[in-house]
Symmetry: C2
Subunit: 510 residues, 2 copies
């Protein structure tokens, strides 16, 4: 494996200075076309983000699908909606372009659904589904700016999905548009596939893959999702962590109790929950759930070497995020992305601050996020956490407690979990992957970052399992896009660069 | 003290069977008058509860004050609004009746402000400020019932303040009304005092007391607040716990982070908060904050004896509340009410369940409630908790963190707290108190419960400190009134019994 990495690095070093004239030509043409179509594409992007896209909001998901289908047809791509066998699955939008003489097929993936929104948390005048431009991140004092006299590449387009992952859809479709409109036909057959259940863990993706296996056959899938490197450099990632969520609810008395009249006697579910959550990690951030790290497949020597070459961005991150002491007990940022996590996404019990009342709450809830690495199995990680909970004296149920259960068990907890999926990692040594790295590298004059696994998650294991194909990610959005949270935004400059990157891949060496 | 308790018990035993004919007469007259005025009083009560009364909502508080003033004037009590020296203090409503030949003055207290509401949590069609009747508690399947054909005494009137403590205002004013309308003039001078900042810790009550010291002079203050005994028996309480709130906010990164892209590296403030809260109590519910119990003045022998005679209601409570194992490491319910508490009122970090996103939150908040017993000082209890927080490695600030503080301190917490107030306990051996006990006892054929200190809090220490008077509580509302929480309600039967109780006190032995 070490020699394979060397091959990749050799490819990069031989290409990034100077750029090839072929790539330069394509790049220039694409960029000129992009410049000329900036306003039109931005208008389309704004309309797209204005359509609410929370995964469970199927009515609006269908409006998004129709919008994408229309965008594809305007670009000469015949589009169709692919569903699975379960009724009412959010449809994927699919399209295909056959290129005369092409012997390989590249399939491009993005997802158009978005995480749930809590509109009340969006600040600075921003709203999840009323996209506007801001001159810099709201958290750094950014303000809404008018696009009447043109759009600065340093601005950000805001809204849920602006980055994650409608940006993927826009870069892929506009890259294809730019290529064909400038007379540069792709060198490979191209397939387009836009999913709409990614933020629920792509729970029906396998159904869609299985049902449309032949239609979706490709030599390599290119995923446009996730953020570029924190250094701002373009990045190619060879894998992703897996992911599954758990919801915990600890129960107290059946009704809220006056904290004076019952205080010291009635059990407080918030206290029981904090005790439980505190028991899951030690002071040095090691996860104490028994066997949590046991089945991790360690990074290979070449993967470890690639990691060492990734620019260290910890000081930048610490400053930008206001972090004095990172977690991880001295391990590097990138090393930590290659280990499983056990994150508290949120906790809630009664109210705090102005809304808080002097009560003993009836329940305390937490949502956990478990990221998985190669080797971890979803059910097995879940079971380890459940066993840990039981070891702390809790009786675990999967439903709201009955009267009998309340009266029988001193520590009662409801535990439910999502479907989830495992991690995926593509090896470095696949010729088509090497060609892709070379193509992306040709667009920039610095070494593209090569990351064995991203910290984030996509159900990429399904491409291997069901479609028997390989898959690689080429993220396009800014790392500080507030993905999954309030004030989500996409740096305009990276939209243009993403179009260029996707176009170059469509034109990569046969 | 033991002999004093014996005197009290002797008084009770000599009176509760049979009732005195004098008391019976008054009681009968009052009850007949109540029956005749039921509809009118209930209509007035509904109108009263329909006026929002959250303490900080001053505009509506003033509407409540005007409503009370009008009720008093309709009953022949000249009323005025008393304010302190600070501008915009929520006014207390005051009135006074001089009785010819009376040598002592009884002052009656209730409060008309209520705890904050989260209307979304009210269930079964209930709304905080749209009072209706329910046939039983919502949590036991209660349904809204129509009062068109009369009101059952077993029903409950719902709404914020219906129990805590507009019930106090209604019982006091209607008791007086019933007495004078049935020709039974009170045997003491009567003062009426209705406060509107109790739920904020009565932060200006001392100002009002100081400013109107002479106007508010009385031999004994009677407080109509808090719940009756869980057994359903009438209760007299000789004291209350003190109370103060603390708000804690632990900080993470400045913006919400993708839990995959930053998971294992970026500190999670929810995790830091649960570790901190978990460290405050041991498995046996002992508070581990250093010195937390140190300055507690223990119960006297006679108080301990009174406690032993209180009906044990733990099995009833456990069943009704769905509690399998109470806290308190084997101590009795009543014993535990006489110890300081450290309660988690609420916790919040990001979102849970359907709204949860896969992020590392930016902050985690908790509101704590510290109940104090005789001997505890507010500042001292707060300082013990702050010292505990510091001992866990936190840097404590009282403001949102600056950029510099974020970059300097790995564990950063904002700690703020309310004004709070200490506990109060009136000794058993005061003649006027003994007469009051005798009067209340005369209305029932079981021993009235005598409780040295209620678990709940009122700023009763101020009556001793500023007005140099004695104070005793005669609660009127049902214990399962959901005080401070959603679905607050007042059992109608106890409204009628409360009117009877207050009337008897106004007519008690000179």
């Amino acid at each position: 494996m070490k020699s394979l990495l060397h091959i990749l690095i050799t490819i990069i070093c031989s290409h990034y200075i100077p750029q090839t004239s072929f790539a330069q030509t394509i790049q220039q043409k694409v960029n000129q076309y992009t410049k000329a179509n900036e306003k039109k594409w931005i208008d389309e992007y704004l309309q797209f983000v204005a359509i609410p896209n929370v995964t469970r909001d199927t009515a609006n998901i269908l409006r998004n699908a129709a919008f994408i289908k229309n965008m594809m047809e305007q670009r000469g791509i015949k589009a169709e909606l692919l569903t699975g066998t379960t009724p009412n699955v959010n449809p994927a939008v699919f399209g295909e372009i056959k290129v005369p003489g092409a012997t390989t097929t590249l399939a491009f993936y993005a997802h158009y659904d978005g995480q749930p929104v809590n509109a009340a948390k969006w600040t600075g005048g921003l709203n999840p589904f009323e996209p506007v431009f801001i001159d810099k991140p709201i958290e750094q004092g950014g303000k809404i700016v008018s696009a009447a006299n043109g759009i600065s590449p340093e601005w950000r387009l805001t809204g849920r999905g602006s980055a994650d992952d409608k940006a993927g859809v826009m870069t892929i479709l506009n890259a294809y548009d730019a290529l064909i409109k400038t007379g540069a036909a792709p060198t490979h057959n191209i397939k387009f596939f836009f999913e709409a259940e990614e933020e629920l863990g792509s729970i029906h993706l396998d159904e869609i893959f299985t049902k449309h296996k032949e239609k979706l056959a490709a030599d390599l899938w290119v995923i446009a999702d996730g953020p570029r490197h924190v250094s701002g450099k373009k990045i190619i990632t060879f894998g992703v962590r897996g992911d599954v969520n758990m919801d915990l609810t600890v129960y107290g008395a059946k009704r809220p109790l006056h904290s004076g009249n019952y205080g010291n006697w009635a059990p407080n579910p918030a206290k029981l929950l904090v005790d439980l959550l505190a028991s899951m990690k030690d002071e040095k951030d090691n996860i104490l759930v028994k066997g949590y790290y046991d089945d991790v497949i360690p990074l290979s020597a070449s993967e470890k070497e690639a990691i060492k070459k990734i620019p260290n961005i910890e000081e930048t991150l610490k400053k930008e995020l206001g972090i004095a002491v990172p977690d991880g007990n001295g391990k590097s940022f990138v090393e930590l992305l290659h280990l499983p996590t056990l994150n508290i996404n949120g906790i809630r019990s009664a109210d705090v601050g102005e809304l808080a009342a002097n009560i003993i709450p009836t329940k305390a809830e937490a949502t956990l996020d478990l990221r998985l690495v190669l080797g971890n199995k979803v059910e097995s990680q879940i079971n380890k956490v459940v066993k840990h909970i039981e070891s702390k004296g809790f009786h675990v149920i999967d439903h709201d407690p009955t009267e009998e259960e309340r009266l029988k068990y001193g520590k009662l907890i409801k535990v439910t979990h999502g479907e989830g999926y495992p991690a995926q990692r593509t090896p470095f040594d696949i010729p088509l992957v090497q060609k892709l790295v070379k193509a992306v590298q040709s667009t920039v004059d610095y070494p593209v970052v090569l990351l064995p696994s991203a910290g984030g998650s996509l159900p990429l294991y399904l491409f291997e399992k069901t479609l028997k194909t390989k898959v690689i990610s080429v993220p396009v959005v800014n790392y500080d896009n507030n993905q999954h949270a309030e004030n989500e935004n996409m740096l305009v400059k990276y939209l243009w660069e993403g179009i260029e990157t996707m176009a170059i891949i469509m034109m990569m060496e046969k």
